[in-house]
């Protein structure tokens, strides 16, 4: 039998959710694999955080549309997670003698992989989710966890009071000990929003996971079941205050905003030490006709049109006279001559034909409350001179039927 050297910390990254609020963007890929920031995928952020925090064993729990994610993670080499005795593993639901189960909840996903965790004989387990953009040193949080002699530590971020009711709020005593969970409270008592990052002492977590699994009416979810059970049992649970950039990118609007934040010099998020797979493409070319203002451009692009407040992923073409404004254009997409794309997300390998118009500025819409980012799914063709309104979501089948 292979012996694995002990790891003090094992990270488990929950990447199985569908991310249905991202619509056509997650039709064929799991949310953590959604492209972000010109060359990354969302999962690069928690993975890079792990490596930069010295965590060498990472399990990624996959379930929904795992192909692209599995392929992207591969052997983990871009993140230095290809060690001889540790590294990254994609853990999908599996069959066993007792039967086969999908992961029925976040806690169940970890429960089904207890054997993976125990190979490393860890003292602590970090639970992460694959839909947040942030840079964090988990070591500091672990130090805090040890200092407080906690069974569970939950990272929290200070949110504005008026937004607090959108989050899971943790109410704590002065020393940071949690006495109450308040899920999306109507009248929040504090502004400590949970970031979905947990550190558990493994012995305790193992006990509560096993107990939770035996409960028939449990939904096997951390937030709904396991954490309240621990609190009720009087375990020491602490909130760890995090300062810095953090954004949940689970919706079209927040995904777009987080991308745009990269263009804002006042935002503290930088991309240093975020690792990713790098497509083999030459540097990008900017033609004599092009005009680029306040944008991010990746390798392999060919820019002949106007670009403002936008993000181009690798291998994107922007034709002559085309305009791209406040938009995110994912790898391999083509914006043909004279096309206009504003306030939009265009997914991979999609073609916006000549003269087509995608998206609208907020001030161009009569009903401002119904304004939103236009989204075109992957491998879609928007025909010549077609018009896609603000907030519309188009995938390849819809585009084909409208032709």
């Amino acid at each position: 039998m292979q012996m694995f050297p002990k790891q003090e910390v094992v990270a488990m990254l929950l990447a199985g959710g569908q991310g249905s609020r991202l619509g056509v963007l997650t039709k064929k890929l799991a949310k953590p694999a959604v492209p972000f920031g010109g060359k990354y995928r969302i999962i690069d952020f928690p993975l890079s955080n792990c490596v930069n925090s010295g965590i060498e064993a990472v399990g990624i729990l996959t379930q929904y549309q795992p192909l692209i994610l599995n392929e992207y993670i591969g052997n983990g080499q871009p993140w230095d997670l290809d060690g001889m005795h540790s590294g990254v593993n994609c853990l999908s639901p599996y069959q066993a003698i007792q039967g086969a189960d999908w992961y029925s909840g976040t806690a169940n996903a970890i429960f089904q992989n207890i054997n993976y965790i125990e190979r490393y004989d860890p003292d602590y387990v970090v639970i992460l989710s694959g839909d947040h953009i942030y840079k964090m040193d988990y070591n500091k949080m672990l130090e805090y966890h040890k200092e407080k002699n906690a069974a569970c530590t939950i990272a929290v971020i200070d949110v504005p009071m008026e937004e607090a009711s959108r989050f899971g709020i943790l109410n704590t005593y002065e020393d940071g000990e949690i006495y109450e969970f308040d899920e999306k409270p109507e009248h929040p008592k504090s502004t400590n929003a949970s970031m979905g990052i947990y550190i558990f002492s493994w012995k305790e977590l193992r006990k509560y996971l096993t107990e939770d699994d035996a409960l028939e009416n449990s939904s096997h979810d951390f937030g709904k079941d396991v954490l309240p059970a621990m609190l009720n049992a009087g375990e020491r649970m602490f909130a760890y205050p995090f300062e810095g950039y953090w954004k949940d990118v689970g919706t079209i609007d927040s995904l777009w905003e987080a991308n745009m934040d990269l263009l804002d010099p006042n935002v503290t998020l930088d991309l240093k030490n975020i690792y990713s797979r790098n497509p083999m493409m030459p540097p990008h070319y900017v033609s004599p006709d092009a005009n680029i203002q306040n944008s991010l451009v990746a390798d392999g692009c060919n820019v002949e049109g106007d670009l403002e407040f936008s993000i181009l992923f690798s291998g994107v073409t922007v034709g002559k006279g085309a305009t791209v404004n406040s938009s995110i254009i994912m790898p391999g997409a083509v914006i043909e001559e004279g096309a206009v794309v504003k306030f939009a997300i265009v997914a991979e390998n999609t073609v916006i034909k000549k003269g087509a118009r995608v998206g609208q500025k907020p001030e161009e819409v009569d009903d401002r409350d119904n304004w939103g980012i236009a989204v075109i799914g992957e491998n879609t063709v928007i025909p010549e001179n077609a018009f896609v309104k603000a907030k519309e979501m188009i995938d390849s089948e819809v585009a084909a039927s409208e032709k």
């Binding site: 060359k39 871009p78 030490n273 690792y275 790098n278 900017v286 451009v297 993000i311």
Partner: protein, 369 residues
């Protein structure tokens, strides 16, 4: 013959005396080019894409940047159970004085490799070439030796270029070693040749025993003895043999047809990966007709330039016709025209530098201007 039966053999120092500035701290093969590449990336990628599994690189000196760049060869898919990249450096006090002795000194490596054929290549040529076409040609024409040539005017920098007379059937009838660089269209043999390893080593041993150290002369004599054929490289080819040809090649990248051919997605050019973020254009940036790699921050004006990874161009800076290598910082309100700026240079705010198209200025690595 199959491509996995060919050993790739690259001379990293080709013509390094002709680009003394660029090669001051590195080999010709590791000269940065095209914004994110080193010269050797092209030949290594071509070999790897053509199915060659085993490549040796001869480096005579200054090879730290080369070893750092090619590493284990994994970036080129040349670091697997059955594929290898080997750096061949001087040892036992045997310096690399000429091709004949150099090849002989490496006979242990060459003969140990399991491949039957060897493909010798220079380190100063930028092209996207499918060697399989060469291998097919070599087998079909039943040649002993096949030389790759480029039709055109020999680029400046070659003291005594080798040119070929080629018959209609592809047979080389004569090999010239001209005293002057001819200003006419010729068949220029730039140093890429395919033959059996056994034939190469036999000829090298024979030459050494006769104290014949001129490889060009050995080649001339081979024409009478063996079937020597020629294969034309009809694709775009940048041959770096002077600071001017280095400059011109970089500027050629502004042409779409050159980029499309060199960076054919079916035969990608690989290079050592660096985790640079996408390049960021500021609110007052103005960029025209330029190649920009990742990791840059551009706040100034850039026209007809190649800007490598991690370069910073400050506000109000005006750059035209420049080649800027990685991680260089160009200060605010600077004015640069026809300047080649090496790695890690700092150009302080407000400085002005002017070269000419025929004479670009060169700023050495890590300088502060």
């Amino acid at each position: 013959m199959r491509s996995n039966d060919v050993l790739g053999f690259i001379f990293a120092g080709t013509l390094d005396d002709k680009i003394p500035e660029l090669a001051a701290s590195r080999t010709t093969a590791s000269v940065p080019i095209g914004g994110k590449y080193r010269l050797i990336d092209f030949v290594l990628s071509n070999m790897s894409n053509s199915g060659i599994n085993n490549v040796g690189i001869v480096a005579k000196s200054n090879f730290l940047s080369l070893t750092d760049h090619v590493g284990s060869g994994s970036a080129y898919d040349l670091s697997k159970r059955r594929s290898n990249l080997t750096l061949l450096t001087p040892y036992d006090g045997k310096p690399f004085s000429n091709y004949v002795e150099t090849i002989y000194n490496m006979h242990g490596y060459i003969e140990h490799c399991r491949e039957e054929y060897i493909l010798l290549s220079p380190g100063n040529v930028v092209t996207n070439f499918d060697y399989n076409a060469l291998f097919d040609y070599h087998s079909k024409s039943d040649a002993d030796i096949t030389l790759i040539y480029k039709k055109g005017v020999v680029p400046a920098g070659y003291d005594r270029p080798v040119t070929l007379d080629v018959a209609d059937d592809g047979k080389v009838t004569q090999v010239f070693v001209k005293p002057d660089v001819p200003d006419e269209v010729v068949n220029h043999f730039y140093g890429s040749v395919l033959l059996k390893k056994s034939l190469l080593m036999e000829e090298i041993r024979k030459a050494l025993s006769l104290n014949e150290l001129d490889i060009k002369k050995i080649l001339q004599q081979a024409v009478g003895k063996y079937k020597v054929c020629a294969f034309e490289n009809k694709g775009y080819t940048g041959i770096i043999s002077s600071i001017n040809s280095y400059f011109d090649f970089n500027m050629d990248l502004m042409k779409r047809e050159v980029r499309d051919e060199l960076f054919n997605p079916k035969r990608p050019i690989y290079t050592k990966v660096r985790d640079d973020a996408p390049s960021r254009y500021g609110l007052e940036s103005r960029v025209k007709n330029s190649i920009i790699a990742q990791g840059c921050v551009i706040d100034g004006e850039v026209e007809n330039c190649v800007i490598s990874k991690g370069v910073y161009v400050g506000k109000g800076a005006k750059l035209s016709n420049c080649i800027v290598m990685q991680d260089t910082k160009i200060g605010k309100e600077t004015n640069l025209n026809y300047v080649i700026i090496d790695k890690d240079v700092t150009i302080k705010d407000g400085r002005s530098l002017m070269g000419f198209g025929s004479y670009p200025i060169y700023i050495a690595k890590k300088s502060e201007v």
